[in-house]
């Protein structure tokens, strides 16, 4: 009984963390068709922004939920203005550019922070449940990702900006026809996507050993989750994160973490083979 509760928490955490690490990429790819290979590095910078802010005496939650997304969002904005905006509609070139950027960020982080930056501890203590210790911070991550999904839905569904964004997503000249500059919309989208990546990196920072090359661990997983989700932004993200999270955690507990990761990858192959357009290419068509 105690064990099954612990496992349930871990499984939920697995799903939640997938949602979290994929959200930023999903926004940027889903709306702009830009594969941001520097996504992992945006997360890494979110982590460093948090650590730095906490070091300066900022409350840890403020640092994670406000400062890190803002800082990384601004970095994203600069990158978009300097580089990405010259490359819209050129998938291949954005890949090269963002790969180059990821190397630049790794190099800069190494020069600024070095390799032995002291991280932050989880602000929420672990607690005992029956005979087991449970990581209390897992609940925080689960809640953050639920709130994140709801907020994304609310923004896209309920606000004017969301409406325009959805229009742009379906037809890039739509916004222009409605009198909005697509340039501005792309800029805002990239800002939001980067901020979400920064948020993910910040929230996960207390659980990982952060080094400048940490980002590389996320990009593949996030990319697989986003693409497998298919065209619908939120439904795709949630459905694929849930399927992969369940599969990988099941095998992780049944066998080992390595088998869990391999199971995730095999699930992705099977899924895309049976649904060549991703999950939402077949189900939940036309949903958000």
């Amino acid at each position: 009984m105690d064990l099954s509760f612990v496992i349930l928490v871990e499984v939920l955490y697995g799903v939640a963390s997938l949602v979290l690490i994929s959200a930023g990429l999903a926004v940027v790819f889903g709306m702009m068709k830009v594969i941001n290979l520097a996504h992992g590095e945006f997360m890494m910078m979110g982590g460093y922004a948090t650590i730095t802010a906490v070091g300066l005496g900022v409350n840890v939650f403020v640092a994670m939920l406000v400062i890190a997304p803002l800082v990384v969002g601004l970095i994203g904005l600069i990158v978009e203005r300097l580089v990405i905006r010259h490359l819209y509609g050129r998938l291949v070139d954005t890949m090269l550019a963002t790969w180059g950027l990821s190397l630049v960020f790794i190099g800069l982080a190494t020069m600024i922070f070095g390799n032995t930056t002291t991280g932050i501890s989880t602000p929420i203590p672990g607690f005992a449940f029956g005979g087991y210790q449970v990581n209390g911070y897992n609940f925080f991550i689960i809640i953050v990702s639920i709130v994140l999904v709801i907020a994304m839905y609310a923004v896209l569904r309920g606000t004017r900006a969301g409406l325009i964004a959805r229009g742009t997503m379906q037809r890039s000249n739509m916004a222009a026809a409605l009198g909005y500059s697509p340039d501005r919309i792309y800029m805002m989208t990239f800002f939001c996507g980067s901020a979400l990546s920064g948020l993910a990196g910040a929230v996960l920072a207390p659980l990982v050993g952060l080094v400048p090359t940490s980002g590389g661990a996320y990009i593949a997983k996030a990319f697989i989750t986003v693409i497998s989700g298919g065209p619908s932004l939120i439904a795709g993200l949630v459905s694929s994160a849930t399927s992969f999270g369940l599969v990988s955690q099941f095998f992780t507990f049944a066998i080992s973490p390595v088998i869990g990761e391999v199971a995730l990858l095999i699930a992705a192959v099977v899924l895309l083979r049976t649904m060549p357009q991703g999950i939402t290419g077949r189900f939940f068509k036309g949903k958000l």
Binding site: I35, R90, M95, G100, L103, F105, S228
Partner: protein, 341 residues
């Protein structure tokens, strides 16, 4: 497409002969060898991506598979001829199966990219977790993260003690690259190659003409994998060790970068991109002032902003504008945007 095929072959041979003669005077043959091998690896992706429209995020899988096949076979056989053949065949067969699975499943664009990426990751994770003594193929320990060192390297066929290494090995690799280059040239000029380009341009139309798209893409994919496998085997011989890093995502990304930097849709571009960037990396390693990762990243970003079509097309159009020749018009690289839904 001109009919002056033999003319082109002669030019290729003369230019390569000159390069093979001149380059060792400037760069050590050992470094040149690996540049040549990377060039071949770049060409393998340049073929299937630039001319077949197949964006493969996992070309490193075939490279690594070729290298590991060679290493494992060489340990078990103790002679290099058959392992070399196997190192070409195994990736080709693997790619044919993978390709058939993908192309008959009508996977395209980024979805295809993700599958190839995932397969590469699976191979990487598998090989990376074989450190234990239970992972053995014949006499070969797979060795996990540390890889497999100490296998029989290339020898004169039939004589295991007559090793080919040092300068002669460079010439073997260089000639292999020239052979592969000519093969690719011939392939692209043949009906098969022209049809492949047609498929890259418009799959639906080619299907409506009566071409079996899936079968043709599978064959092209397997040819690309065979070339990558050959490059892998040559790499294994060169480095005398194979490690899981050959399968890694970073390696795959690097191959993609080579193609873009060199110029997609050209035969020469990926070779130039691969050799150029690898040599740049080699040169950078001799300085310790600024973090090399940073420099490499900056170069790539500047590149994509200022030379978006890649090096070879840019140089070609520059030459054209200077000499006013219009005979060989560089085809602008097609930017495939991801189609969704």
């Amino acid at each position: 497409m001109g009919r002056n095929g033999s003319h082109d072959v002669i030019i290729t041979l003369v230019v390569s002969a000159l390069l093979i003669w001149l380059l060792p005077l400037m760069i050590s043959t050992y470094t040149l060898t690996v540049l040549v091998i990377y060039g071949m690896l770049g060409l393998s992706l340049g073929l299937i991506w630039g001319f077949g429209g197949i964006l493969c995020f996992g070309q490193a899988a075939f490279f690594g598979l070729g290298a590991y096949t060679y290493a494992i076979a060489a340990i078990n056989i103790g002679e290099s001829t058959l392992p070399m053949v196997l190192a070409v065949l195994v990736p080709a067969v693997f790619a044919a199966l993978l390709g058939a699975m993908m192309f008959y499943g009508r996977l395209t664009d980024v979805y295809l990219g993700v599958i190839t990426l995932v397969v590469t990751l699976i191979l990487f994770k598998f090989v990376n977790s074989t450190a234990g003594p239970q992972y053995v193929i014949g006499n070969a320990r797979l060795g996990g993260f540390n890889g497999i060192p100490g296998f029989q390297t290339l020898n004169v066929p039939g004589d295991p003690s007559a090793y080919i290494w040092g300068d002669p090995y460079f010439y073997v690799c260089a000639i292999a690259l020239v052979a592969v280059f000519l093969l690719v040239t011939w392939l692209l000029r043949s009906s098969f190659g022209r049809i492949a380009v047609g498929i890259r341009e418009n799959e639906v139309r080619m299907g409506l003409m009566g071409y079996d798209i899936a079968a043709r893409k599978t064959v092209l994919f397997a040819i690309g994998a065979a070339i990558a496998g050959l490059a892998g085997a040559l790499f294994a011989n060169w480095g005398e060790i194979v490690t899981p890093k050959l399968f890694s995502l970073g390696q795959s990304a690097e191959i993609i970068i080579w193609c873009i930097v060199g110029g997609l849709g050209t035969r020469f571009g990926p070779i130039v991109g691969a050799a150029g960037l690898a040599y740049l990396k080699f040169m950078l390693g001799q300085q310790s002032m600024i973090d090399n990762t940073l420099i490499m990243g900056l170069i790539l970003v500047l590149f994509v902003v200022f030379l978006p079509r890649g090096l070879v097309p840019a140089v070609a159009s520059l030459l054209n504008s200077i000499f006013g020749r219009t005979k060989r018009k560089p085809r602008p690289r097609r930017m495939r945007t991801a189609r969704h839904g």
